[in-house]
């Protein structure tokens, strides 16, 4: 039996004026899942999050939270969201901000316990204005958990943190998930998504480009660039995209081993062979352009 769906988008489209930020996205988030939303900046991750937490309404289509509307405050008792750490009220103390946010929820953690979990236990009385960037980030993440949510939305939770703080936070997210909590997190780092998520949804140009396990998605985005000097693009299998620049052939492929084997086997003259991993950005462009080619 499938777990109950906590959050759902059905053919959700969102426009900002002429800009199409989200294009007919359908997505179910089941209880107990740990879902990573992966995509370059401007891909539509934030727009999708904003629809799910009730900050924005879809231009067309439907978005549901616990079977209700995200714009209903009572429905939002079950979620937790990270604020952007740049906007935290500077003059309030760390403990006061946690108390303030907690007061909105029927169930809550003790302020001291919550802050201890993110390693800010000794800063309860410090004013937010006196925190470092990393401390603010950890406070922001703690606030998402203040109301004992069933479903938590973490937007770039570890950006700007050092390795140790990142691992602490990852542990916290894992233990929340192990206790039955559901997590949706965004990141533009594949590494972070790999470390935490079981399911990865790749978003690009407002669409869901891939939705699967980390392994499946890595195979899709694990694109490599093979380039060498040759006069023309040889006929080889498994090429996603090819181009010729200044006498060099550039090929994007998901299987560089096979491609190079075939290149040698074909007996084509080439020189100066180079194989390197593409950036996530390039991988997205590849997937997106495939998507467009299909339409």
């Amino acid at each position: 039996m499938n777990p109950p769906v906590l959050a759902r988008a059905i053919e959700a489209t969102r426009r900002y004026g002429d800009v199409l930020a989200l294009d007919r996205v359908s997505l179910d988030i089941g209880a107990g899942e740990l879902v990573g939303l992966l995509g370059p900046n401007g891909a539509g991750k934030s727009t999708l999050m904003n629809l799910l937490v009730g900050l924005r309404r879809p231009t067309s289509g439907t978005v549901e939270l616990f079977g209700g509307s995200p714009s209903d405050p009572a429905v939002r008792r079950g979620i937790g969201v990270t604020p952007q750490e740049t906007g935290l009220p500077e003059s309030l103390r760390v403990g006061e901000i946690v108390d303030f946010v907690s007061a909105h929820f029927p169930e809550r953690y003790g302020t001291a316990e919550l802050l201890a979990r993110v390693g800010l236990g000794d800063l309860v009385r410090r004013q937010v204005g006196g925190l470092s960037g990393g401390q603010r980030r950890r406070l922001a993440v703690a606030l998402a958990f203040a109301g004992r949510p069933r479903l938590v939305f973490l937007d770039e939770p570890t950006t700007g943190l050092d390795v140790e703080a990142r691992r602490t936070l990852w542990e916290g997210i894992r233990s929340f998930h192990a206790d039955g909590g559901t997590v949706v997190l965004t990141s533009h780092y594949l590494e972070e998504i790999e470390a935490l998520a079981q399911r990865v949804v790749v978003i690009g140009r407002g669409r869901v480009l891939a939705d699967g396990t980390v392994r499946e998605v890595r195979d899709v985005v694990g694109v490599r660039r093979v380039s060498f000097a040759a006069p023309a693009v040889p006929d080889l299998p498994g090429i996603l995209r090819s181009s010729v620049e200044d006498g060099r052939v550039h090929l994007l492929t998901t299987d560089s081993d096979l491609l190079v084997t075939e290149l040698v086997r074909a007996g084509t003259a080439f020189a100066d062979l180079e194989v390197r991993p593409t950036s996530l950005e390039e991988a997205f462009i590849t997937i997106t352009s495939e998507e467009e080619a299909r339409v």
């Binding site: 900050l55 924005r56 969201v81 604020p83 952007q84 906007g87 935290l88 003059s91 006061e96």
Partner: protein
């Protein structure tokens, strides 16, 4: 819901107290004007000292309502904390009500120095009942200025809000006869005075503290300003909501 209004008020007020520039400004200007204009010229006559004190109280409350509120709203709209609060399980009401209550508390604090100066340095005299009535009239009289503050705050950027609210503040106060009595002002000011919102507000206060009968024209204009400013504030609020949260 009531609990949440108190929670929002408490933390907004704490923020105000920790960065008290707005509070200090709205307490300082009327206190300084009191020392410069009222104590030397009207201080010895009980009746004129009392009405002049009421004028200075309103002058301070106007600063908190018009300048303080517009700057707070405009600044908060630019912070990502504002949309975050919209993800919490509360509608926009607790934050909005908290803002109004915090502004009112700021207004009441800002009149304390004026009252102290009036009590110790002038011949002003007032019964406790009339003082309480006067403070009630102060809150009512500030309504159009709070609405104008909301309008400016929701319609303008923080820098524009500072400029617009300060440019509006002094002429409105002066034209209403808050700083110096209208009798010593030029004729065109006297003919304009009944139509500015500060005039109806100060006449309400004088009715409360001294039992004077307010002019019907000033009161009608005051009511008209409330309707106009409420419509403008509602328009700016909806426009801002639509742009950021629809």
């Amino acid at each position: 819901m009531f609990d949440l209004i108190l929670v929002h008020t408490r933390y907004q007020f704490l923020e105000q107290l920790r960065v008290p520039i707005a509070l200090v400004a709205s307490a300082f200007f009327p206190a300084a004007a009191m020392l410069a204009l009222v104590v030397p010229f009207a201080g010895s006559d009980p009746a004129s000292a009392t009405s002049a004190t009421a004028g200075m109280m309103l002058f301070g409350a106007m600063s908190a309502a018009l300048i303080g509120l517009s700057i707070n709203v405009a600044q908060d709209r630019e912070q990502p904390w504002d949309p975050y609060l919209r993800t919490l399980p509360a509608g926009p009401l607790p934050r909005f009500a908290g803002r109004i209550l915090t502004t009112m508390a700021g207004m009441l604090l800002s009149v304390v120095p004026v009252l102290l100066i009036s009590a110790f340095l002038t011949a002003a005299a007032i019964s406790p009942l009339r003082l309480a009535l006067g403070i009630g009239a102060l809150l009512v009289g500030s309504v159009p200025f709070m609405l104008l503050g909301l309008f400016i705050g929701y319609a303008a950027s923080p820098k524009a809000a500072i400029a617009v609210s300060q440019v509006a503040y002094f002429p409105i106060a002066a034209l209403g006869g808050l700083l110096v009595p209208l009798e010593v002002m030029p004729g065109f000011v006297q003919s304009l005075a009944p139509f500015v919102p500060s005039r109806g507000a100060i006449e309400l206060m004088w009715a409360a503290v001294a039992g004077r009968t307010p002019s019907p024209v000033s009161l009608a204009a005051f009511a008209g300003w409330i309707v106009l400013a409420a419509a403008a504030a509602a328009w700016a609020y909806r426009r801002d909501e639509g742009r950021r949260f629809s």
